[in-house]
Amino acid sequence: MYRFVLRRLLSGVLLLFVITTVAYVLLYAGGGDIARRIVGPTATDAQVAMKSSQLGLDRPLLIQYWEWLTKALTGDLGRSWFNGQLVSTGVSSRLSVTISLVLGAVIIAALISVVIGVWAAVRRGWVDRLVQFVGVMGFAIPGFLIALGLVSLFALNLKWFKATGYVPMTTSFGGWAATVTLPIIALSIGCIAAVVQQIRGSLIDALRQDYVRTLRARGLSFNRVVYKHVLRNAGGPALAVLAVQFIGLLGGAVIIEQIFALPGLGQITVAATGQGDIPVVMGVVVATAAIVVIVNLIIDLAQGWLNPKVRLS
């Protein structure tokens, strides 16, 4: 078990390293004359050169990268080129908003998907067809369109929720819940659609397995067999889909945060992207990659818990 965790941990760290390296090289080498972009087209060549040396951009890329990496390992991701703010502070202060959104959406999606997926797989017939149809729709319609629909219906017309704004969970849980309800719904619908399909499919397969009959023949009720045994066996593929969805939600959250004016990672990303504020963009990439690595690690551990073959091999 320890070796399993250790191996996963190492491959996660390796992935993080590769992603940040590739991102750094592409961002810093692919952007042409960065200093010129910052100081503007009217600046003299001397001013551009000065800016360039001030930011350390006139040195070889490898040396710049090495410096960035050694500082990043101590938690220092540099400063924004435009407002001088520490990237680490800017990113981490917004991280909690995004994570609470995405985590909320994933947890809700997982719970709802299990209920609907079991329902469709066990009942089949019209229930199954309805779930399939709604699933396809939920999957097809982009999440931000759903968000726009939710805003205009529940916030602008019915006025059940505020359209924009954010209350931190630490200030008031009720206030937080009120501000994130619509965004979480918008995020989770596509996720539910995808996970339900997977749970339904693997449950139908798992229900055909011989051990289901044998366990029932031993006197266990159908529901007990489904929820304790079948669901656990069908859980592996569903977890894998959930992991993919989680990564997708990190991207979807960027747009959702914009619609609901939530001060999350998306906001700082969009601003930095528009300006070409590469240290901040790099910080966002690092934070996102770190989340992805952590999520994958958790999912791997969960897979090991579900499936002893994974754990013991």
Binding site: A140, P142, S152, R208, R213, H229
Partner: protein, 605 residues
């Protein structure tokens, strides 16, 4: 999305797929919607009443009406005209992404799948890397460097989407690479390029087309998302930038956001439904895959049909077991509901009795209905299967009409079951111990410590050398013979009155078969159980059974005490089965003296 290779004669499939889509309800509507949107976009210069970029201050946020069909946006530009022209850019952008993804994904997938080697390793690794980060974040990061060009963004997104095709093509190619017809083509001297073109591309074409529809929808959505964030090229009209303008002015002109949202939603849904319709049609043309065993109507069945239900019934012998009647199956029928509403009958008018302490052999070849009969007694028929008639009296109660809740109380505690295939009948996710304890705790209501004690004792009793170790093992860590012993332990754990064993030795090594049969006999004698032993093997019957019922094509053809059947088989089918075993054992004559008859019978195939 589907990774399964489709074994289709593809040239025929492509033509007929398009035709089939035209009559598929959602497929036809989706195609029509997409066709109309594409046509309107192409004809935008003709259809649009205004220049999409012509702004006028006096018309800012003008209402919909005769002058502007759908109103004007925040710069006074005609929404309808912009919607039409935006279609050109949005669709073209999505096509750029699709093309890039197709070229990279399909090429890399073909090479990696066909040749393998280092290219396989590297590309699989790169695929993992590309899919590690959310596409939106990568696009935003790229946007910071490459600027606002929609085309460049879509090229990058195409690269990010290429794993969707890579994985699909890779899976299909590795599946067919070693097929005989590909080998044959190679042997006959065809070059790799021709083999890929002729034999492999045809296999992946259909799934790639389906995936393309999905990818196009994703590309349109993500492009709209980027533009919606206000990060797009403001000089060209796109649906996403219109969405952005509409959202900014949602308080002043609420309908402005509606039109682009509708078009984007419509196109995305149409593309997804189209992909689903294509998958439906392809799966349908592969033919329905029906699971579960069915009795195929054969000539033999017709013959027995003519004979009606006249099963040969042998008289009871004086030495027969006269214990209390445990189970009495009368006139049992089992049928499977078909998708067209009809029912296919697989068991007809079966009669069967089991007394306490008696082993009743249920014999017949595959598809004779013996397993279906056994499952009906447990009321555990596969999905769509049901008891169509007759009664199953067990201690005076008719199991055929018992509620599921009542039946749950009968299973395990009163009637137990030993399956055929040991490995697939244990839940791989739980330890042997927990699978033994759980039913005991439910059925007998005993504590965990008590259940553990009993489980360990049972494991020792069924001849497992290290009960403690097996108790803590997972199913994949023990052998098939051990697993069958575990299943037997599980079956007898609640001391049932009736045990149904479905070919309990068929899946085992010949050396283990005899041991398992001995164990069954010992347990049967000790617990005074009635046993229904389902088997196709008369050797096992001779060894264990007191009475035999022979089934063919879902009917009982002969029944009686085991000696009567062996000495005086009347039905031709029974004779044929007996001859089969005698022919088999005859050449081994000299060996009979070397062992006890029981052991030999156990190893008879």
């Amino acid at each position: 999305m589907t990774g399964a290779p489709l074994p289709l004669p593809a040239s025929a499939a492509k033509v007929s797929l398009f035709r089939k889509l035209l009559i598929h309800p959602t497929g036809a509507v989706s195609l029509l919607v997409l066709f109309l949107v594409a046509l309107a976009s192409i004809l935008a210069p003709v259809l649009a009443p205004y220049d999409p970029n012509a702004s006028s201050l006096k018309d800012v946020l003008a209402k919909a009406g005769s002058e502007f069909l759908l109103g004007a946006d925040s710069a006074g530009r005609d929404v309808f005209s912009r919607l039409l022209f935006a279609g050109q850019f949005s669709l073209a952008g999505a096509l750029v992404a699709l093309t890039v993804a197709l070229v990279i994904g399909v090429t890399a997938g073909l090479i990696a799948g066909y040749h393998g080697g280092w290219f396989d390793t590297v590309s699989s690794w790169l695929t993992g890397l590309l899919m590690a980060l959310p596409g939106m974040v990568v696009l935003l990061a790229a946007r910071a460097v490459v600027g606002q060009s929609m085309w460049l963004s879509m090229v990058i997104f195409g690269v990010l989407l290429s794993p969707a095709f890579f994985r699909l093509v890779y899976a299909s190619v590795t599946a067919v690479r070693n097929e005989l017809y590909v080998d044959a083509a190679r042997v006959s001297g065809l070059g790799d390029v021709r083999i890929i073109g002729r034999h492999i591309l045809t296999v992946v074409r259909a799934p790639v087309i389906i995936q393309s529809a999905m990818v196009l929808g994703i590309a349109i959505a993500i492009q709209a998302g980027l533009e919606f964030l206000g990060l797009g090229d403001r000089t060209i009209p796109t649906w996403g930038s219109m969405l952005n303008d509409g959202f900014i002015n949602i308080f002043k002109a609420p309908t402005l956001v509606l039109w682009p949202a509708l078009v984007i939603g419509l196109v995305c849904v149409a593309l997804t439904l189209l992909a689903n319709a294509m998958r439906d049609e392809l799966e349908r043309s592969r033919g329905p895959v029906k699971k579960g065993r069915k009795a195929a109507p054969t000539g033999a069945e017709n013959a027995s049909e003519k004979r009606g239900n006249a099963a040969v019934v042998h008289a009871e012998e004086p030495s027969s077991n006269h214990g209390e009647l445990l189970l009495e199956v009368t006139d049992l029928g089992v049928g499977y509901d078909q998708p067209d509403g009809s029912t296919t009958d697989v068991v007809h008018h079966v009669n069967l009795t089991v007394r306490r302490g008696e082993v009743h052999g249920l014999v017949g070849e595959s598809g004779s209905g013996k397993t279906q009969t056994a499952f009906s007694i447990l009321r555990l028929l596969p999905q769509d299967g049901r008891i169509t008639g007759g009664s199953i009296l067990f201690e005076g109660r008719d199991l055929a009409h018992l509620s599921e809740k009542e039946m749950t109380k009968v299973r395990g505690k009163r009637i137990a079951y030993i399956p055929q295939e040991p490995m697939s009948n244990l839940d791989a996710a739980f330890t042997i111990g927990s699978q033994l304890m759980e039913p005991m705790r439910v059925c007998l209501g005993i504590s965990k410590t008590e259940a553990r004690k009993r489980a360990l004792a049972l494991l020792a009793k069924v001849g497992i050398p290290h009960p403690e170790r097996t108790f803590n093992s997972y199913p994949h860590q023990i052998s098939g013979g051990m697993a069958q012993r575990v299943l037997i332990a599980g079956a007898v754990s609640c001391e049932p009155d009736l045990l149904i064993a479905d070919e309990p030795t068929t899946a085992l090594d010949v050396t283990v078969q005899a041991e398992v049969l001995n164990l069954l006999r010992e347990l049967q004698e000790e617990l005074k159980m009635g046993v229904i032993l389902v088997t196709h093997n008369f050797g096992v019957v001779a060894d264990l059974c007191d009475r035999v019922t022979v089934m063919q094509s879902g009917r009982v053809v002969e029944t009686g005490p085991v000696r009567a059947i062996f000495n005086d088989a009347k039905h031709p089918y029974t004779r044929k089965l007996l001859e089969a075993i005698l022919e088999d054992t005859a050449p081994r004559g000299p060996l009979v003296t070397a062992g006890t008859p029981r052991e030999l019978n156990g190893v008879t195939p």
